[in-house]
Structure formats: C-alpha cells, structure tokens
C-alpha cells in the first residue's frame, strides 16, 4: 500500500466571490504520475495554485506528505511549473542562472552555489536537452525552450513532488516524448507528479492515475478505472472528446 503524498480535502476556492473549485477532494499516492484533465476554465490551474498555497481557500485543506504546504516548501520538497511564467523575459539572467534558482533552498543565506549545485544544474539542463542554451539570456529562447528551462529549474530543485501545469503546450512532439520519458524515470525514482494536459490521447501511455475536474473533482483514481468514456463525457459537459472517439 502506497502512502498519500498529495491530500486535498473539501477544498473550495473562489475568486472575488466567484467559486472556481467547489469542495474538491483528491488523494494522490506517492511515486505516481497523475494526469489532471478538464475543460478550459474547469479549475486545473486553480487547483495547482491552491495546493501551493498561493490562493487562500474559502474552506478545506491541503496536506503534502501529511504536512502543511508551507512546511514542505521550506525544505524545497515541492516544485511547481506554472502554465505560463509571468516573468519579465528581458530580465538580465541566463538560462543557467534561472535553473540555479531551483537550488536556492539548499544554499546558505548568501546563496553561494557549491560544486554539487553546479553539477545538479548542469544535469538538469542536460535532462531537458537545454545544455547548448545555458548561457543565453532567458528571453532569447523559443516558447518551447522557455518551458524546458523552467522545467529544468523544477528538476534542479529535486523536490519529491512535481506540479506541472500544461508543460506540453507549445512543445514539439519529439520534446514531448522526451519529457514523458523523463517523467516516467522520475516516477520510478520515487517522485510524485501531478500534470495537467489537454492531450487526452497520451494520458494512458504514461499516467498511473487520472483526476477529472469540472469546477470540482468529478473523479480520481487509477487510469483504467477512471479514464472511461462515461466519465469523460461528464468532464467535458456532454461533448465526447474527439481523440477518445477515435481510439474506440
């Protein structure tokens, strides 16, 4: 029996009085990849932000490995890659500077990198095939390369838990394949991964579990049990997703 890494209980989140997630409950076991699926505006990004504690829920709670998320963040245990980075792309930092920011939690107050930090940064860049771009200013990258740079930062953080909000959007097929292989490798090393995606066709190829959202959590559990035609119809408001119909 695996232990529970991400435990969300009766979470209700509202923006300016408008409820985006209503009494969401989900439990994700450790060492697993969970696919988060739902329509635009169904509350996927909201769930990520609420798990990270960036928005205060109206009610409910989130526990990571049985602890409040602030506690887990202080140990750099949880890495989050947002759907779109809201950073200034003209900022005078290089790709490897950005990846090094994933290591700050392990450094002393002065944040002086040690050999180990440099090695991990180099490894993380290599894992997402970004080594050749390491000295580029962060804005001088393509959209997909930017995504990979921030994924490398999350890897450098070496958190046991990875939250990835649509990492495949704007990424080419070859890179997506490489990223999936990487996620599987991380899972096998004991990482817990929650990943949102609109690519329904690939879910079954790498997700152990699926979480379906539509303003609340409709269902969650093993892919075989939950990723059914009936559930997906509910998730997508009665419209059968095209990809799935093709498979059947």
């Amino acid at each position: 029996m695996k232990s529970i890494s991400i435990d969300v209980e009766n979470l209700t989140v509202a923006y300016n009085g408008k409820v985006a997630l209503h009494e969401a409950t989900v439990q994700l076991s450790s060492s697993s990849i969970s696919g988060l699926v739902g329509m635009n505006g169904s509350g996927k990004s909201t769930l990520f932000k609420a798990i990270m504690g960036f928005i205060t829920p109206r009610s409910g709670r989130v526990l990571i490995n049985g602890l409040p998320v602030r506690h887990v963040q202080k140990q750099s245990l949880i890495a989050y890659v947002p759907q779109s980075e809201e950073v200034d792309w003209n900022f005078p930092v290089s790709v490897s500077d950005v990846v090094m920011m994933g290591r700050y939690g392990y450094m002393n107050l002065l944040r002086i990198p040690r050999t180990r930090d440099r090695r991990i940064v180099a490894e993380s860049l290599a894992r997402v095939q970004m080594t050749e771009f390491k000295d580029r200013q962060i804005g001088e990258l393509s959209g997909g390369q930017k995504k990979r740079a921030f994924l490398a930062r999350a890897l450098a953080q070496q958190g046991k838990i990875l939250l990835l909000d649509e990492p495949f959007t704007g990424v080419d097929v070859k890179t997506e394949k490489a990223m999936v292989d990487l996620l599987i490798e991380l899972r096998d090393q004991g990482h817990t991964i929650l990943i949102s995606t609109h690519d329904l066709a690939s879910i079954e190829t790498f997700c152990d579990q699926v979480v379906l959202v539509n303003k609340t959590i409709l269902a969650y559990g093993s892919t075989a049990d939950v990723f059914t035609e009936e559930n997906l119809t509910r998730t997508f408001g009665g419209v059968m997703p095209h990809q799935l119909r093709k498979q059947n």
């Binding site: 202080k74 750099s76 200034d88 005078p92 930092v93 500077d97 700050y104 939690g105 944040r111």
Partner: protein, 288 residues
Amino acid sequence: MDMQSVWQWFVAPLQYEFMVKAVVVSAMVGLVCAVLSCYMTLKGWALMGDAVSHAVMPGVVLAYILNIPFAIGAFVFGLSSVLAIGFIKSKTRIKEDTVIGLVFTGFFALGLVLVSKSPSNIDLQHILFGNVLGIPDRDIVQTAIVSLITLAIILVLRKDLLLFCFDPTHARSIGLNVTALNYTFLTLLSLTIVAALQTVGIILVVAMLVTPGAVGYLLSDRFDHMTWIAIASGVFSSVVGTYISYHIDGSTGGCIVVLQTLLFVIAMIFAPKHGLLVRSSKRLNESP
C-alpha cells in the same frame, strides 16, 4: 585641455576641506544608489522611489525642529508612507499608482506646511535640492552609517532580492517569505533615500535610484555586469558632477543628475546590443 590642467581641475579644489567631504559623501551616495537602482529598474519601482523620497519631507523638517538626527525623521516618514501605500492599496479598490500619487503628495504637503510654520529657520532649498558642499559633520556621519547598513543588507540579500524581482512565485514555492522581502526592499529604499538626501535633495533622489540601473541594463544582459556598470556610472557622475558644480558654482544635485542623464543618453544611442544605433541598423539589414 592638457593633462596638467585636468589634474589641476581635480586636485585644486581639494585644498578646501568642504570639497574633500563633498566628494567623499557624493561618491558614497553614488555607490549606494547605483547598487539599489539595479533592483529598482528591474522591479519597475521608479514611481515608488519618487513617492518615498517626497514623503520623507515632514520627517526631515520635524527632525530639525525637534533637534534629532535628520536620518531618523526621514526614515520614519519614508517607512510610514510605504506602509500607508500598502494599507490603502489592500483595503480599498483604488489602483496602485493612484494610491502612490495620493500618499506622497499628502506627506509632501504636510512637510511644506511644517516648514512654513516652523519657528527655527529651515532652509527649504537645502531639503529640496541638497547641500553637499555645505554638509555638516554630523550629517556626514549619519549618511555614512545609513549607507553602510544599506550596502551590507543588499550584499547579504542580493540573490534573494533578485529572485524577488524576477519571479516572486518561485521565491514563494521554495519557502522564501516574499512579504518580508517586499518590506525589506522598501526599507532599503527608504534608507537609500535618507542617505542621498543631503547630496541631491528630495526632488532629484529618484534619478539616482533609477538612472544608473537603466544605464547598466542597456549595456548588459548579465546582472553582475549590470551592477558594476551602474556603480561605475553612478559614482562617476556623483564625483564629477560635484566637481563641475564647484567650478561653475551651480547646483550640485543638478550637475550630478544632468551628467547621469547624459551617460544614459550615450548608452541609449551607442549600447552594443540594445542601443538605438544597433537596433536601427539591424532593422535596415532586415528590410529587403
């Protein structure tokens, strides 16, 4: 101008003690302001800098009236303005730039009223435009202490402040206290303004807080290089500006800021990568 006269131009004024003090103080202030200006330009806080610098006015006046160190009065009011801005922004639906404009003019106006009704004769001119050529010793000590404290804090927190400017979301997700960093940054801003008051005065402080950073930003894509360039241009214009003001018998703050702006214009035109010349020649090459 031959080497001899350049030498004379720099050395001759140093026979006066007030000039030695002025050069040392303005170099120190140029340094502190340049370092902070890198973060200020990246964070986009020019308006905030302008606000805090104006808001210290009543503090300086009260300090003179009550005969306490000007640095304490200025710091207290600088910090109160920041807190007032934060409070009003979070408790009302008014947009940030409106709140900033509202708070700093309110503080500044209070300062004006205090000056006009103060029993002791306070030189408004000196508060508004600085007076580094006539800076008293106790003010030099205060400026030096404040500068050292500010530099030390920035040195220790430089990576965290940079992360806070670049990506506060990531800062939070690795457990850094972003609210504390925000207020630390604002405290550093208040301290720097206090240090620069005597040199350039309330009105021109904001130039010291953004121009060197902007010069560095145009000339480099590396934060370290940007900082060194900002320091070089900030210290250079502070020191040379002080000399020019001595020789032409003009406003010191004015000379410093004009020089700084000139450096900015040169950088803007000639910067190797982000300059106007390179940009327009690129555009010419690209168009068929």
